[in-house]
Structure formats: structure tokens, C-alpha cells
Amino acid sequence: MNKISESKYKDFVADRSKYPEMENGKPVIDLDSHKFTKIWQGPQHPGVTGNMSVEIIVNGDEIVDAKTHVGYLHRGFEKLMERRRYIQCFPIVCRICVPEPDTNEYCVSAAMEDLAGIVIPDKAAWLRTLNLEMSRVAGFLMWLGGQAGSLGMGAIGQWTVAMRDYWLDLFEEMTGGRIYHMYMIPGGVRKNLPLGFKERVLQTVDRTYKLLDDIERVFLNNAIAKSRLKGLGIITPEMVSEYGIVGPTARASGIADDIRINQPYLKYAELEMKMLTSNIGDAYDRTELRFQELLQSLDLVKQILNKIPENGEIQAKLPNVLHWKIPAGQTYIKAESTRGEHGFYMVSDGSKYPRRVFARGASYTHAISVLEKLAVNITISDLAALMVSLHTCPPEIER
């Protein structure tokens, strides 16, 4: 609170010294006194990221209390996977996070391989890395449009979503699917790269660079966007571990925690990349950091394309997958998605069916604990921007 009022960008801070009355650090909220209004922001609300809702209590248009409600997209994946054989799991896991399905596919396949002791071929690892990095690009593009849109700047959203579509075209060429790719199966990947794919990716990378140039000029350097995002939703470094914040959101607060660098998986150890961090931790910092990560991801895509081997196996030998039994054990596989640490915890009991699959959605705490804390004392006008800047993704919260 002190930090916010010191910040020179936040030109309006609610004076909470007198009203509402505080008790034990919490405002006394009596809805019958007509001083407060309860508003359900969502699930049917254009400013909410997906199908979730925030129950806010406002005094004027300043939020004094917020509660997140999720569960509108719960499909019970973890239960469904207990009923399915190992090989039947991979088509459904990608539905867990819709904007960026590949991280789920990778984690589940890798968890199965880890439990069964299968080592995937070199080329398959490269292809997986390529796919993951491309999906990061697509996810960031989607988010960038949302961040600008939450401030009422529709044009950026239109541009980035259209650009994301060109990336989806590449995915379609590579995997056969536009949104859900179902590309990584246990033991490797399904398909090899099509002919001339590399050139087309490089073309799209160049187009994306060009677009991002425009966006940097129009959005990131925009005075109004800056004035609205700076000082909004500051996450201090202490909060990061207390609230389980991960990914770019944590890195914007100065915590150098990127799984691709700290615990490299697949081929990330062979790629050149540096840890991007920032130190203020407000919404603008997060926006800028994610923008830099998008540029970094584009660079990584280029690097991967240069290093990918021409020939090689793409699929390790599996036993008959319909009768595939995995030895008992437990493992936890995590990967860096656009929102941060996305992990799968898998327990096998030696039968054909997984005993338990647990998906740790990257934004699990962002949307609930963190949002509920940060939403207090801001106004309704900033709630959408705050929510997008935390990069919440409801389907991975409730799975």
C-alpha cells in the first residue's frame, strides 16, 4: 500500500483512513447499509478472462472485497484419466488449457516416459521443443491482445489474434490440428516436419517481428497505457513464494525462476537464452517482460530451426499401447508455459490405467489468492487489466 502511494504514476489512491470502518485490518462490510454494492463480474462479462467470475463488493467504484469463483469449466479430467488407458490420455489432456495446449501434451507424455523409463529419440526432442516454443509464441500473442483489449484498445487484439492465426496455420501444417494438436505422444511425436516448413516458419517469424514493432510503438510506449498499468497490482518479491506465483509474473518481481534455464528439459540446455527479470512487479512491468519473452521465444524458434537435425527417428519403440502397463511409481514433470510452471504429477500403480494424474495449472494461484489480494483498493476500471496482467486461464485452474 505504501509502495503504491509512493509511486508517482498512480495519481489516485483511495483514502481508507476513515471510511469504510476497519476492523482487524478488514473493512466492515454491511450490504444492507446501502453503502456497498455487490457485483458479479462474470461469468458473462467481456472483461473477464474466460468463463470465470469475480464477486466484488464495491464502495462507489472502488473494490473493497473480491472473491473469485471458478468451476464453470470443470470437466473432471483427472477422474476421466483414471478411467482411460495411458495411450487414451493424450488426446484429452490438451483440452486442459485451451490457448496453449502443447505444454499439457508434453508434460503427460514425459511423465509416462519417465515412469516407464523410455528415452525419446533426439529428433523427437527437438520437434517437441519447437512445438512448445511455437505454442508459447501463440499464447503470448493471444495474451498481448487481451492486455491491450482490457484497456479498451481493440486494434492490438485484432492484429495479434490475426497473427496468431498464421501461427495456428503452421501448427496445422506441422501437426494436423489447429487448436488442439495432439502431437506429442508417449515415446516421441506423431509426424515429421513437412517439406519447406522451416522457410515458412521463418517468414512468419519475420512478420511477427514487424507486427511487434508496431505494437511496441502503439501500445507499450503509449502514455495512457503506461499511466494505467504502472503502479497497478504490485507483486513484491516476498509475495512470490508466499502465494506460489510462477513464471513471468514472478520474474517481473525479480525472482529468477525459469524452468527452461534452471532445470532444462528437452533441448533447452543447448539453446542460448538468458533469464529475463524485472524488478518493480507492477502490471506494466509484467506486460513489458512478457513482451520481451515473446521476442525471446521468436529468437528461440529461429535457433531451434537451425539446430534441428535433418534425419532421425521421431518415435521410440513402445510396447503394444493398448496393453501398456507402466511400473508403479510417482513423478512430477513440469514445463514453462506462458503463464509459468505447468506441471503434471502422475502416480502409477502398475496397471494399465494411471492411478492419479494431477495437473498443476500455472495460473492456479494467480486467479484466486493473488487476484483476491490485489483487487482490493483498485477501481472496477482496472480489474480487467489486472486480471489479464496476471495471465489467468480458467480451464487450467479447475481442469
Binding site: E242, G244, I255, Q263, S369
Partner: protein
């Protein structure tokens, strides 16, 4: 990592240590020492980040296994802490004072598995399932297919033949129990 676990051993009774990877260990603890162990792990051994906590249902042993996954920023390593609790009177100590977001997981576990965490904030508020009257759905004795068919008006699908039965009927009508036909070995 081993050194940290040895330090932990001086505090609490570590029943089992499994090294899955150099940066991923699983240890098993006793239930009543869990909160102390996690507090020690967090505050002294620097396992600051709670990645998740969740439960596994061992119906046949009548037990739940709780897993707490913590992460050390300096070591860059994960440590999974397993605890077995009784399935019938499932209740566990709450760790919401150690991590601010732990109540979220506890609320989900309360709803999906029926594990109680006394003292955890908002633990009995519905998290995902609204108006749910059956048993907690993630328990293994809850049959989701039967429930779905009973409740949600399944649309009759096309007529399909189970390959095993179809082979028997169409190809080998004279050998009803032919040993050549591979059976499901469940």
C-alpha cells in the same frame, strides 16, 4: 539435496526416501509431523515454493496419500513429501499459515476427496462443484460413467461391435472359446 534430507531426518522421522531424479526426490513422513517438517523445510532449508498439494486415493488400502511438492530456488530442486492418512476419518492438519495459497488446495481437496482440514479458511465453501449431492467425485469408488448415464440423458450412439465379440461371432462361430483370441487380462 541429500544433505538437506539428512538435516530433516534430525527433526522428524523420515520413513522412506526415493530419488526419482537428481532434482526430484520423494520422501514419506508421518502424518502428525508433517506441519513441523514443512515449516522446517520452508523456513530453514529454503524450500520456499509450494508447487501443489494433492491426494491419491488408495481404496484397497483404505488410505489417502497426500503429496506436498515444495521447491528450492537455490538448489533448483523439487521435493515431494508424501503422507498417508486414514481414508474413513480423513482429516489433516492445515498448512494455510505456512503458505498463503495453501487454503486453495485444501478447499479443493475437501470438495473433491472429502479430506477435512480443520481451521483452513473457506474450506467448506463450494469451490468447483455447485449443488453437488453425491460423494466427493474424485474418490475412486465414485463411478463417473454410471452417474453421467443416469443424469445427463446419454444420446444413443451408432451400433458398434466390440471387436472381441464380433470376431467370435463372425469369424469363429464354431470356436466359442478359442484360446487364440487374445483376452483382456484384467
Amino acid at each position: 539435496m541429500k544433505e538437506k534430507i539428512d538435516r530433516l531426518r534430525k527433526m522428524v522421522n523420515v520413513l522412506q526416501v526415493v530419488e526419482k531424479h537428481p532434482d526430484l526426490y520423494f520422501i514419506t513422513l508421518e502424518g502428525n509431523q508433517l506441519v513441523m517438517a514443512l515449516g522446517y523445510l520452508k523456513n530453514t532449508l529454503n524450500f520456499k515454493h509450494l508447487a501443489f498439494m494433492q491426494a491419491v486415493d488408495y481404496l484397497e488400502d483404505n488410505k489417502f496419500m497426500l503429496t506436498y511438492m515444495v521447491y528450492n530456488y537455490e538448489l533448483k530442486a523439487n521435493l515431494g513429501v508424501n503422507v498417508f492418512i486414514d481414508r474413513e476419518e480423513s482429516s489433516m492438519f492445515s498448512i494455510h499459515r505456512l503458505w498463503e495459497h495453501a487454503w486453495q488446495y485444501q478447499r479443493e481437496l475437501y470438495e473433491m476427496f472429502g479430506i477435512d482440514f480443520p481451521g483452513s479458511p473457506r474450506v467448506d465453501e463450494p469451490f468447483i462443484m455447485e449443488s453437488w449431492e453425491e460423494m466427493p467425485p474424485m474418490r475412486r469408488d465414485f463411478d463417473t460413467l454410471a452417474y453421467s448415464q443416469k443424469t445427463y440423458f446419454p444420446r444413443p450412439g451408432r451400433e458398434t461391435n466390440d471387436p472381441k465379440e464380433q470376431m467370435k461371432k463372425a469369424k469363429y462361430p464354431n470356436y466359442p472359446d478359442s484360446p487364440k483370441i487374445r483376452r483382456d487380462d484384467e
